[in-house]
Protein backbone atom coordinates (compact mmCIF):
# COMPACT_ATOMS: atom_id res chain seq x y z
CA UNK A 1 0.00 0.00 0.00
CA UNK A 2 1.21 3.54 -0.76
CA UNK A 3 1.50 6.09 1.98
CA UNK A 4 -1.82 7.88 2.62
CA UNK A 5 -2.27 10.96 0.46
CA UNK A 6 0.76 10.29 -1.73
CA UNK A 7 -0.22 9.16 -5.25
CA UNK A 8 2.32 7.44 -7.52
CA UNK A 9 3.60 9.77 -10.25
CA UNK A 10 1.47 9.89 -13.45
CA UNK A 11 3.27 9.67 -16.82
CA UNK A 12 2.06 11.38 -19.98
CA UNK A 13 1.72 9.34 -23.18
CA UNK A 14 4.87 11.02 -24.53
CA UNK A 15 6.80 9.90 -21.47
CA UNK A 16 5.41 6.39 -21.82
CA UNK A 17 6.31 6.26 -25.52
CA UNK A 18 9.81 7.48 -24.68
CA UNK A 19 10.26 4.57 -22.28
CA UNK A 20 8.77 1.92 -24.61
CA UNK A 21 10.50 2.97 -27.81
CA UNK A 22 8.73 2.86 -31.22
CA UNK A 23 6.16 0.11 -31.85
CA UNK A 24 7.38 -2.99 -33.66
CA UNK A 25 6.43 -2.83 -37.35
CA UNK A 26 5.70 -6.55 -37.32
CA UNK A 27 3.26 -6.09 -34.46
CA UNK A 28 1.27 -3.51 -36.39
CA UNK A 29 1.31 -5.61 -39.54
CA UNK A 30 -0.18 -8.62 -37.81
CA UNK A 31 -3.42 -6.83 -36.94
CA UNK A 32 -6.12 -8.16 -39.26
CA UNK A 33 -9.60 -6.74 -39.77
CA UNK A 34 -11.17 -10.19 -39.86
CA UNK A 35 -11.07 -13.74 -38.48
CA UNK A 36 -8.85 -15.74 -40.82
CA UNK A 37 -8.49 -19.52 -40.70
CA UNK A 38 -5.79 -19.37 -38.00
CA UNK A 39 -7.87 -17.18 -35.72
CA UNK A 40 -10.90 -19.37 -36.41
CA UNK A 41 -8.92 -22.40 -35.28
CA UNK A 42 -7.85 -20.56 -32.13
CA UNK A 43 -11.49 -19.67 -31.32
CA UNK A 44 -12.62 -23.25 -32.07
CA UNK A 45 -10.27 -24.48 -29.33
CA UNK A 46 -10.77 -21.72 -26.79
CA UNK A 47 -12.92 -22.45 -23.73
CA UNK A 48 -12.29 -19.09 -22.05
CA UNK A 49 -12.11 -15.37 -22.74
CA UNK A 50 -12.23 -12.05 -20.95
CA UNK A 51 -14.80 -9.58 -22.23
CA UNK A 52 -14.12 -5.88 -21.76
CA UNK A 53 -16.82 -3.25 -22.16
CA UNK A 54 -17.25 0.36 -21.03
CA UNK A 55 -20.19 2.64 -20.39
CA UNK A 56 -20.90 5.95 -22.14
CA UNK A 57 -18.55 7.76 -19.75
CA UNK A 58 -15.76 5.28 -20.46
CA UNK A 59 -15.99 3.52 -17.09
CA UNK A 60 -14.68 0.07 -17.92
CA UNK A 61 -15.57 -3.46 -16.93
CA UNK A 62 -14.01 -6.82 -17.67
CA UNK A 63 -15.75 -10.14 -17.14
CA UNK A 64 -14.80 -13.81 -17.64
CA UNK A 65 -16.73 -16.05 -20.07
CA UNK A 66 -16.19 -19.76 -20.43
CA UNK A 67 -17.74 -22.92 -21.86
CA UNK A 68 -16.65 -25.86 -23.99
CA UNK A 69 -13.92 -25.10 -26.58
CA UNK A 70 -15.47 -23.36 -29.55
CA UNK A 71 -18.36 -21.96 -27.52
CA UNK A 72 -17.84 -18.73 -29.44
CA UNK A 73 -19.10 -19.35 -32.96
CA UNK A 74 -17.53 -17.78 -36.01
CA UNK A 75 -20.59 -16.85 -38.10
CA UNK A 76 -18.41 -15.37 -40.84
CA UNK A 77 -15.02 -13.76 -40.96
CA UNK A 78 -16.33 -10.50 -39.56
CA UNK A 79 -18.87 -11.83 -37.06
CA UNK A 80 -18.69 -13.86 -33.84
CA UNK A 81 -21.50 -15.07 -31.59
CA UNK A 82 -21.09 -15.86 -27.90
CA UNK A 83 -23.77 -17.50 -25.74
CA UNK A 84 -24.94 -15.76 -22.60
CA UNK A 85 -25.06 -18.44 -19.92
CA UNK A 86 -26.60 -18.13 -16.46
CA UNK A 87 -24.25 -16.06 -14.30
CA UNK A 88 -24.69 -13.45 -11.62
CA UNK A 89 -27.44 -11.62 -13.57
CA UNK A 90 -25.70 -8.30 -12.94
CA UNK A 91 -25.61 -7.70 -16.70
CA UNK A 92 -22.78 -5.14 -16.47
CA UNK A 93 -21.66 -6.01 -19.99
CA UNK A 94 -25.17 -5.68 -21.46
CA UNK A 95 -25.78 -2.38 -19.67
CA UNK A 96 -22.50 -1.04 -20.98
CA UNK A 97 -23.16 -2.26 -24.52
CA UNK A 98 -26.51 -0.47 -24.55
CA UNK A 99 -24.60 2.79 -24.04
CA UNK A 100 -21.33 2.02 -25.78
CA UNK A 101 -21.04 -0.89 -28.18
CA UNK A 102 -17.22 -1.15 -28.07
CA UNK A 103 -15.82 -4.49 -26.88
CA UNK A 104 -12.43 -6.09 -26.41
CA UNK A 105 -12.03 -9.85 -26.12
CA UNK A 106 -9.00 -11.81 -25.07
CA UNK A 107 -9.24 -15.55 -25.85
CA UNK A 108 -7.14 -18.22 -24.13
CA UNK A 109 -6.43 -21.80 -25.18
CA UNK A 110 -5.12 -23.93 -22.31
CA UNK A 111 -1.50 -24.79 -22.94
CA UNK A 112 -1.02 -22.11 -25.63
CA UNK A 113 1.06 -19.10 -24.62
CA UNK A 114 -0.21 -16.69 -27.24
CA UNK A 115 -3.63 -15.12 -26.78
CA UNK A 116 -6.08 -13.96 -29.42
CA UNK A 117 -7.28 -10.38 -29.07
CA UNK A 118 -10.43 -9.28 -30.86
CA UNK A 119 -11.79 -5.73 -30.79
CA UNK A 120 -15.00 -4.49 -32.31
CA UNK A 121 -18.57 -3.70 -31.43
CA UNK A 122 -21.28 -5.90 -29.97
CA UNK A 123 -24.99 -6.22 -29.34
CA UNK A 124 -27.35 -8.73 -27.75
CA UNK A 125 -29.57 -10.98 -29.88
CA UNK A 126 -32.17 -13.73 -29.52
CA UNK A 127 -31.95 -14.83 -33.18
CA UNK A 128 -33.16 -18.48 -33.19
CA UNK A 129 -30.56 -19.68 -35.73
CA UNK A 130 -27.79 -18.26 -33.56
CA UNK A 131 -29.19 -19.65 -30.29
CA UNK A 132 -29.71 -23.08 -31.89
CA UNK A 133 -25.94 -23.32 -32.26
CA UNK A 134 -25.55 -22.84 -28.51
CA UNK A 135 -27.98 -25.45 -27.33
CA UNK A 136 -26.10 -27.58 -24.83
CA UNK A 137 -27.00 -30.23 -22.27
CA UNK A 138 -30.62 -29.95 -23.30
CA UNK A 139 -30.80 -26.19 -22.72
CA UNK A 140 -30.90 -23.25 -25.08
CA UNK A 141 -28.99 -20.07 -24.41
CA UNK A 142 -31.57 -17.32 -23.95
CA UNK A 143 -29.41 -14.64 -25.49
CA UNK A 144 -26.20 -14.32 -27.41
CA UNK A 145 -23.77 -11.54 -28.00
CA UNK A 146 -22.99 -10.73 -31.62
CA UNK A 147 -19.50 -9.31 -32.01
CA UNK A 148 -18.66 -7.41 -35.19
CA UNK A 149 -14.94 -7.74 -35.62
CA UNK A 150 -12.82 -4.69 -36.40
CA UNK A 151 -9.41 -5.91 -35.26
CA UNK A 152 -8.02 -9.36 -34.54
CA UNK A 153 -4.46 -10.27 -33.65
CA UNK A 154 -2.30 -12.72 -31.79
CA UNK A 155 -0.76 -11.31 -28.66
CA UNK A 156 2.70 -12.64 -27.93
CA UNK A 157 3.10 -15.18 -25.17
CA UNK A 158 5.43 -13.35 -22.77
CA UNK A 159 2.70 -12.59 -20.25
CA UNK A 160 1.72 -16.25 -20.11
CA UNK A 161 5.32 -17.43 -20.04
CA UNK A 162 6.19 -15.09 -17.18
CA UNK A 163 3.02 -15.94 -15.31
CA UNK A 164 3.61 -19.72 -15.71
CA UNK A 165 -0.15 -19.85 -16.23
CA UNK A 166 -0.17 -23.32 -17.81
CA UNK A 167 2.48 -24.85 -15.54
CA UNK A 168 0.60 -27.42 -13.40
CA UNK A 169 2.90 -26.52 -10.49
CA UNK A 170 1.35 -23.03 -10.51
CA UNK A 171 -1.87 -24.52 -9.16
CA UNK A 172 -0.18 -24.72 -5.76
CA UNK A 173 -1.01 -20.99 -5.54
CA UNK A 174 -4.63 -21.97 -4.95
CA UNK A 175 -3.58 -23.54 -1.64
CA UNK A 176 -2.55 -20.07 -0.42
CA UNK A 177 -5.96 -18.58 -1.15
CA UNK A 178 -8.95 -18.50 1.18
CA UNK A 179 -11.94 -20.44 -0.12
CA UNK A 180 -14.73 -18.38 -1.70
CA UNK A 181 -16.81 -19.07 1.44
CA UNK A 182 -14.08 -17.76 3.75
CA UNK A 183 -13.66 -14.68 1.60
CA UNK A 184 -17.34 -13.83 1.32
CA UNK A 185 -18.18 -14.41 5.00
CA UNK A 186 -15.23 -12.25 6.03
CA UNK A 187 -15.94 -9.42 3.56
CA UNK A 188 -19.65 -9.27 4.37
CA UNK A 189 -19.19 -9.94 8.07
CA UNK A 190 -21.55 -12.95 7.94
CA UNK A 191 -21.79 -15.05 11.06
CA UNK A 192 -21.98 -18.38 9.20
CA UNK A 193 -19.64 -21.27 8.79
CA UNK A 194 -17.69 -20.60 5.55
CA UNK A 195 -18.05 -24.30 4.77
CA UNK A 196 -21.83 -23.82 4.39
CA UNK A 197 -21.22 -21.09 1.80
CA UNK A 198 -18.64 -23.22 0.00
CA UNK A 199 -21.04 -26.16 -0.13
CA UNK A 200 -23.78 -23.88 -1.46
CA UNK A 201 -21.43 -22.61 -4.17
CA UNK A 202 -20.38 -26.15 -5.01
CA UNK A 203 -24.10 -26.96 -5.47
CA UNK A 204 -24.60 -23.93 -7.70
CA UNK A 205 -21.58 -24.92 -9.79
CA UNK A 206 -23.33 -28.16 -10.67
CA UNK A 207 -26.00 -26.24 -12.55
CA UNK A 208 -23.97 -24.77 -15.37
CA UNK A 209 -26.62 -24.26 -18.03
Amino acid sequence: MTQTGVRPRRLSLAEVRERLGPPDALVEAKILDRIDEHFRRFIAHSPFLSLATADAAGRADCSPRGDYPGFVKVLDEHTLAMPDRPGNKIADSFRNLAENDGVGLCFLVPGVRETLRVNGSAYATDEPDVLARMHTEGREAEMALIIEVEQAYFHCGRALVRSRLWDPASQALADEMPTAGELVTSQLGWDVDPKVVDEGLEDAYHTLY
Binding site: A44, Y68, P69, G70, A132, R133, T136, G138, H206, T207
Partner: protein
Protein backbone atom coordinates in the same frame (compact mmCIF):
# COMPACT_ATOMS: atom_id res chain seq x y z
CA UNK B 1 -18.01 -48.96 -21.96
CA UNK B 2 -14.41 -49.34 -23.02
CA UNK B 3 -13.22 -46.65 -25.43
CA UNK B 4 -11.55 -47.94 -28.56
CA UNK B 5 -8.46 -46.28 -30.00
CA UNK B 6 -8.54 -45.52 -33.69
CA UNK B 7 -6.67 -43.39 -36.19
CA UNK B 8 -8.39 -41.45 -38.95
CA UNK B 9 -7.39 -43.27 -42.11
CA UNK B 10 -9.30 -41.28 -44.71
CA UNK B 11 -11.44 -38.17 -44.91
CA UNK B 12 -13.33 -38.04 -48.21
CA UNK B 13 -15.91 -35.59 -49.44
CA UNK B 14 -18.81 -37.80 -50.52
CA UNK B 15 -21.41 -35.10 -51.23
CA UNK B 16 -21.88 -31.37 -50.77
CA UNK B 17 -21.19 -30.74 -47.07
CA UNK B 18 -20.73 -34.44 -46.30
CA UNK B 19 -17.47 -36.17 -45.47
CA UNK B 20 -16.91 -39.86 -44.93
CA UNK B 21 -14.41 -40.81 -42.22
CA UNK B 22 -12.65 -44.14 -42.25
CA UNK B 23 -11.29 -44.98 -38.80
CA UNK B 24 -8.61 -47.62 -38.52
CA UNK B 25 -8.07 -49.75 -35.41
CA UNK B 26 -5.01 -48.57 -33.50
CA UNK B 27 -4.90 -51.44 -31.00
CA UNK B 28 -6.34 -54.83 -31.97
CA UNK B 29 -9.57 -55.52 -33.85
CA UNK B 30 -12.57 -53.23 -33.43
CA UNK B 31 -15.71 -54.35 -31.59
CA UNK B 32 -18.16 -56.11 -33.92
CA UNK B 33 -21.43 -54.51 -35.02
CA UNK B 34 -24.56 -55.14 -37.00
CA UNK B 35 -26.43 -52.88 -39.45
CA UNK B 36 -28.15 -49.99 -37.68
CA UNK B 37 -25.41 -49.59 -35.05
CA UNK B 38 -23.76 -46.27 -34.19
CA UNK B 39 -20.61 -45.18 -32.39
CA UNK B 40 -19.82 -42.08 -30.36
CA UNK B 41 -16.82 -40.01 -31.34
CA UNK B 42 -15.11 -38.05 -28.60
CA UNK B 43 -13.95 -34.79 -30.16
CA UNK B 44 -11.00 -32.68 -28.97
CA UNK B 45 -13.46 -29.90 -28.05
CA UNK B 46 -14.96 -32.18 -25.35
CA UNK B 47 -18.13 -32.85 -27.33
CA UNK B 48 -19.36 -36.38 -28.00
CA UNK B 49 -21.25 -37.07 -31.19
CA UNK B 50 -22.97 -40.24 -32.43
CA UNK B 51 -22.76 -41.41 -36.03
CA UNK B 52 -24.20 -44.50 -37.68
CA UNK B 53 -21.71 -47.02 -38.98
CA UNK B 54 -22.00 -47.20 -42.75
CA UNK B 55 -19.07 -49.43 -43.73
CA UNK B 56 -18.68 -53.17 -43.92
CA UNK B 57 -19.56 -55.06 -40.70
CA UNK B 58 -17.12 -57.82 -41.68
CA UNK B 59 -14.15 -55.43 -41.62
CA UNK B 60 -12.82 -55.58 -38.06
CA UNK B 61 -9.99 -53.21 -38.88
CA UNK B 62 -12.09 -50.22 -39.95
CA UNK B 63 -15.22 -48.32 -39.11
CA UNK B 64 -16.76 -45.87 -41.54
CA UNK B 65 -19.11 -43.01 -40.68
CA UNK B 66 -20.39 -40.07 -42.73
CA UNK B 67 -20.91 -36.61 -41.29
CA UNK B 68 -22.99 -33.77 -42.71
CA UNK B 69 -21.86 -30.26 -41.82
CA UNK B 70 -24.92 -28.91 -40.06
CA UNK B 71 -25.22 -25.15 -40.76
CA UNK B 72 -26.57 -24.84 -37.21
CA UNK B 73 -23.72 -26.92 -35.78
CA UNK B 74 -23.11 -26.55 -32.07
CA UNK B 75 -19.52 -27.63 -32.59
CA UNK B 76 -19.67 -31.31 -33.55
CA UNK B 77 -20.04 -31.59 -37.32
CA UNK B 78 -18.40 -28.20 -37.83
CA UNK B 79 -15.33 -29.33 -35.89
CA UNK B 80 -15.10 -32.57 -37.84
CA UNK B 81 -15.37 -30.78 -41.17
CA UNK B 82 -12.85 -28.08 -40.32
CA UNK B 83 -10.25 -29.98 -38.36
CA UNK B 84 -10.37 -33.74 -38.97
CA UNK B 85 -7.51 -34.91 -41.17
CA UNK B 86 -6.00 -38.36 -41.79
CA UNK B 87 -3.55 -39.43 -39.10
CA UNK B 88 -5.41 -37.95 -36.14
CA UNK B 89 -5.97 -40.32 -33.21
CA UNK B 90 -9.59 -40.63 -32.19
CA UNK B 91 -11.37 -42.40 -29.34
CA UNK B 92 -14.65 -44.04 -30.22
CA UNK B 93 -17.18 -45.95 -28.15
CA UNK B 94 -18.05 -49.56 -28.85
CA UNK B 95 -21.00 -49.78 -31.27
CA UNK B 96 -24.53 -49.65 -29.87
CA UNK B 97 -27.61 -50.54 -31.82
CA UNK B 98 -31.01 -48.95 -31.23
CA UNK B 99 -32.07 -49.55 -34.81
CA UNK B 100 -31.46 -53.26 -35.42
CA UNK B 101 -32.57 -54.92 -38.63
CA UNK B 102 -35.15 -57.53 -37.64
CA UNK B 103 -35.66 -60.61 -39.82
CA UNK B 104 -38.33 -60.15 -42.50
CA UNK B 105 -39.13 -61.61 -45.92
CA UNK B 106 -38.82 -58.16 -47.52
CA UNK B 107 -37.80 -54.63 -46.65
CA UNK B 108 -38.52 -51.06 -47.64
CA UNK B 109 -35.73 -48.66 -46.68
CA UNK B 110 -36.54 -44.97 -46.61
CA UNK B 111 -33.61 -42.56 -46.33
CA UNK B 112 -33.59 -38.77 -46.09
CA UNK B 113 -30.21 -37.15 -46.81
CA UNK B 114 -27.52 -38.20 -44.34
CA UNK B 115 -30.12 -40.65 -42.94
CA UNK B 116 -28.80 -43.00 -45.61
CA UNK B 117 -25.94 -44.05 -43.32
CA UNK B 118 -27.56 -46.75 -41.12
CA UNK B 119 -29.53 -48.00 -44.12
CA UNK B 120 -26.46 -48.65 -46.28
CA UNK B 121 -25.29 -51.74 -44.36
CA UNK B 122 -28.93 -52.83 -43.97
CA UNK B 123 -29.46 -52.82 -47.72
CA UNK B 124 -26.15 -54.61 -48.24
CA UNK B 125 -27.13 -57.28 -45.69
CA UNK B 126 -30.57 -57.79 -47.24
CA UNK B 127 -29.16 -58.08 -50.75
CA UNK B 128 -26.41 -60.47 -49.59
CA UNK B 129 -29.09 -62.67 -48.00
CA UNK B 130 -31.17 -62.54 -51.19
CA UNK B 131 -34.05 -60.82 -49.43
CA UNK B 132 -36.11 -58.49 -51.64
CA UNK B 133 -35.38 -54.92 -50.62
CA UNK B 134 -36.12 -51.47 -51.99
CA UNK B 135 -34.39 -48.25 -51.03
CA UNK B 136 -36.13 -44.94 -51.57
CA UNK B 137 -33.47 -42.32 -51.04
CA UNK B 138 -34.65 -38.71 -50.83
CA UNK B 139 -32.48 -35.59 -50.93
CA UNK B 140 -32.52 -32.02 -52.17
CA UNK B 141 -30.47 -32.89 -55.25
CA UNK B 142 -28.20 -35.80 -56.11
CA UNK B 143 -25.10 -33.69 -55.36
CA UNK B 144 -26.21 -33.42 -51.73
CA UNK B 145 -26.90 -37.16 -51.40
CA UNK B 146 -23.87 -39.15 -50.21
CA UNK B 147 -23.25 -42.51 -51.89
CA UNK B 148 -26.16 -41.98 -54.35
CA UNK B 149 -24.22 -42.85 -57.52
CA UNK B 150 -22.54 -45.90 -56.02
CA UNK B 151 -25.87 -47.22 -54.79
CA UNK B 152 -27.46 -47.01 -58.21
CA UNK B 153 -24.44 -48.65 -59.79
CA UNK B 154 -24.33 -51.45 -57.25
CA UNK B 155 -28.01 -52.18 -56.66
CA UNK B 156 -29.66 -50.94 -59.86
CA UNK B 157 -33.45 -50.84 -59.76
CA UNK B 158 -33.61 -51.69 -56.09
CA UNK B 159 -32.59 -48.08 -55.47
CA UNK B 160 -34.90 -45.18 -56.27
CA UNK B 161 -33.31 -41.74 -55.94
CA UNK B 162 -35.67 -38.83 -55.38
CA UNK B 163 -34.22 -35.33 -55.78
CA UNK B 164 -36.89 -33.07 -54.31
CA UNK B 165 -35.60 -29.99 -56.19
CA UNK B 166 -36.56 -31.76 -59.45
CA UNK B 167 -39.03 -34.50 -58.54
CA UNK B 168 -40.77 -32.95 -55.53
CA UNK B 169 -41.39 -34.96 -52.40
CA UNK B 170 -42.05 -38.68 -52.83
CA UNK B 171 -45.62 -39.84 -52.29
CA UNK B 172 -45.24 -41.99 -49.19
CA UNK B 173 -48.96 -42.76 -49.28
CA UNK B 174 -48.56 -44.60 -52.60
CA UNK B 175 -45.56 -46.45 -51.21
CA UNK B 176 -47.60 -47.48 -48.17
CA UNK B 177 -50.50 -48.72 -50.35
CA UNK B 178 -48.21 -50.89 -52.44
CA UNK B 179 -46.27 -52.17 -49.41
CA UNK B 180 -46.27 -55.97 -49.22
CA UNK B 181 -48.10 -57.10 -46.07
CA UNK B 182 -45.02 -58.91 -44.73
CA UNK B 183 -42.50 -56.10 -45.39
CA UNK B 184 -40.76 -54.13 -42.66
CA UNK B 185 -40.03 -50.44 -43.19
CA UNK B 186 -36.84 -48.78 -41.92
CA UNK B 187 -36.77 -45.00 -42.06
CA UNK B 188 -33.96 -42.62 -41.10
CA UNK B 189 -34.07 -38.95 -41.99
CA UNK B 190 -35.06 -35.47 -40.85
CA UNK B 191 -38.02 -35.01 -38.51
CA UNK B 192 -40.59 -34.11 -41.23
CA UNK B 193 -39.79 -37.29 -43.14
CA UNK B 194 -40.16 -39.43 -40.03
CA UNK B 195 -43.47 -37.75 -39.24
CA UNK B 196 -44.65 -38.37 -42.82
CA UNK B 197 -43.65 -42.05 -42.59
CA UNK B 198 -45.40 -42.42 -39.24
CA UNK B 199 -48.57 -41.02 -40.80
CA UNK B 200 -48.81 -43.66 -43.54
CA UNK B 201 -46.98 -46.85 -42.49
CA UNK B 202 -48.39 -49.27 -39.89
CA UNK B 203 -46.63 -48.53 -36.59
CA UNK B 204 -45.81 -52.19 -35.85
CA UNK B 205 -43.90 -52.51 -39.11
CA UNK B 206 -42.14 -49.13 -39.12
CA UNK B 207 -38.73 -48.67 -37.49
CA UNK B 208 -37.30 -45.16 -37.32
CA UNK B 209 -34.18 -43.41 -36.18
CA UNK B 210 -33.76 -39.66 -35.81
CA UNK B 211 -30.69 -37.44 -35.55
CA UNK B 212 -32.13 -34.90 -33.15
CA UNK B 213 -34.82 -35.23 -30.49
CA UNK B 214 -38.41 -34.83 -31.61
CA UNK B 215 -39.95 -31.56 -30.41
CA UNK B 216 -42.25 -32.56 -27.57
CA UNK B 217 -43.45 -31.09 -24.33
CA UNK B 218 -43.55 -32.93 -21.03
CA UNK B 219 -45.35 -32.49 -17.74
CA UNK B 220 -43.36 -30.25 -15.38
CA UNK B 221 -40.40 -31.98 -13.72
CA UNK B 222 -40.94 -33.36 -10.25
CA UNK B 223 -38.25 -34.48 -7.81
CA UNK B 224 -37.72 -38.18 -7.16
CA UNK B 225 -35.28 -40.54 -5.48
CA UNK B 226 -32.87 -42.81 -7.32
CA UNK B 227 -32.25 -45.82 -5.11
CA UNK B 228 -28.96 -47.38 -6.15
CA UNK B 229 -29.61 -50.99 -5.23
CA UNK B 230 -26.12 -52.41 -5.51
CA UNK B 231 -24.45 -49.72 -3.43
CA UNK B 232 -27.39 -49.20 -1.07
CA UNK B 233 -27.45 -45.43 -1.54
CA UNK B 234 -30.36 -43.12 -2.28
CA UNK B 235 -29.65 -40.15 -4.54
CA UNK B 236 -32.28 -37.41 -4.53
CA UNK B 237 -32.95 -35.90 -7.97
CA UNK B 238 -34.19 -32.32 -7.81
CA UNK B 239 -36.82 -31.01 -10.23
CA UNK B 240 -34.29 -28.83 -12.03
CA UNK B 241 -31.69 -31.56 -12.27
CA UNK B 242 -31.32 -34.56 -14.56
CA UNK B 243 -30.97 -38.07 -13.19
CA UNK B 244 -27.64 -38.22 -15.02
CA UNK B 245 -26.31 -35.11 -13.27
CA UNK B 246 -27.56 -36.25 -9.87
CA UNK B 247 -25.86 -39.64 -10.25
CA UNK B 248 -22.63 -38.13 -11.55
CA UNK B 249 -22.57 -35.70 -8.67
CA UNK B 250 -23.08 -38.53 -6.22
CA UNK B 251 -19.98 -40.11 -7.70
CA UNK B 252 -21.49 -42.77 -9.97
CA UNK B 253 -19.48 -43.13 -13.20
CA UNK B 254 -22.44 -43.02 -15.60
CA UNK B 255 -21.37 -42.48 -19.21
CA UNK B 256 -22.88 -39.56 -21.06
CA UNK B 257 -23.02 -38.45 -24.67
CA UNK B 258 -25.62 -36.34 -26.41
CA UNK B 259 -27.51 -35.44 -23.20
CA UNK B 260 -30.69 -35.21 -25.23
CA UNK B 261 -31.99 -38.75 -25.36
CA UNK B 262 -30.71 -39.74 -28.78
CA UNK B 263 -27.39 -41.57 -28.44
CA UNK B 264 -28.07 -44.03 -25.60
CA UNK B 265 -24.67 -43.80 -23.86
CA UNK B 266 -26.21 -43.21 -20.43
CA UNK B 267 -28.41 -46.33 -20.44
CA UNK B 268 -29.27 -47.66 -16.96
CA UNK B 269 -30.98 -50.83 -15.77
CA UNK B 270 -34.18 -50.18 -13.81
CA UNK B 271 -35.03 -52.82 -11.19
CA UNK B 272 -38.32 -51.34 -10.02
CA UNK B 273 -40.33 -48.14 -10.19
CA UNK B 274 -41.78 -46.55 -13.33
CA UNK B 275 -39.51 -44.42 -15.48
CA UNK B 276 -40.98 -41.56 -17.46
CA UNK B 277 -39.24 -42.14 -20.77
CA UNK B 278 -38.42 -38.92 -22.59
CA UNK B 279 -35.85 -40.31 -25.00
CA UNK B 280 -36.13 -40.78 -28.74
CA UNK B 281 -34.53 -44.20 -28.71
CA UNK B 282 -37.43 -46.22 -27.34
CA UNK B 283 -35.96 -47.71 -24.18
CA UNK B 284 -36.35 -51.50 -23.97
CA UNK B 285 -38.18 -52.86 -20.92
CA UNK B 286 -36.12 -52.43 -17.76
CA UNK B 287 -33.85 -49.77 -19.26
CA UNK B 288 -33.84 -46.00 -19.21
CA UNK B 289 -31.70 -43.08 -20.40
CA UNK B 290 -30.61 -40.95 -17.47
CA UNK B 291 -29.93 -37.75 -19.42
CA UNK B 292 -33.58 -36.98 -20.18
CA UNK B 293 -35.84 -39.57 -18.59
CA UNK B 294 -37.35 -39.11 -15.14
CA UNK B 295 -39.74 -41.00 -12.86
CA UNK B 296 -43.50 -41.51 -12.62
CA UNK B 297 -43.08 -43.11 -9.20
CA UNK B 298 -41.46 -41.41 -6.15
CA UNK B 299 -38.59 -43.86 -6.36
CA UNK B 300 -36.65 -45.64 -9.07
CA UNK B 301 -34.53 -48.61 -8.08
CA UNK B 302 -31.47 -48.77 -10.29
CA UNK B 303 -28.84 -51.43 -10.81
CA UNK B 304 -26.00 -49.21 -9.62
Amino acid sequence: MQAQHTVIDRVDQVAEDVVSLVLRAATGPLAPWEPGAHIDLTLPNWLTRSYSLCGDPDDQERYRVAVRHDPLSRGGSEYIHHYFRPGRALEVSPPRNHFPLLPAPRYLFLAGGIGITPLLPMLAAAVAADIPATLVYVGRSTSTMPFAEGLRARYGDRVRLVATSEDGRPDLGTLAESLAPDALVYCCGPAPMIAAAQAVFPAERLHTERFRPAARTFAPNTPFDAVCARSGRTVPVAADQSLLDALKRAGYPVASGCREGVCGSCELTVLSGNPEHRDDIGAPAGRMYACVSRALTPELHLDL
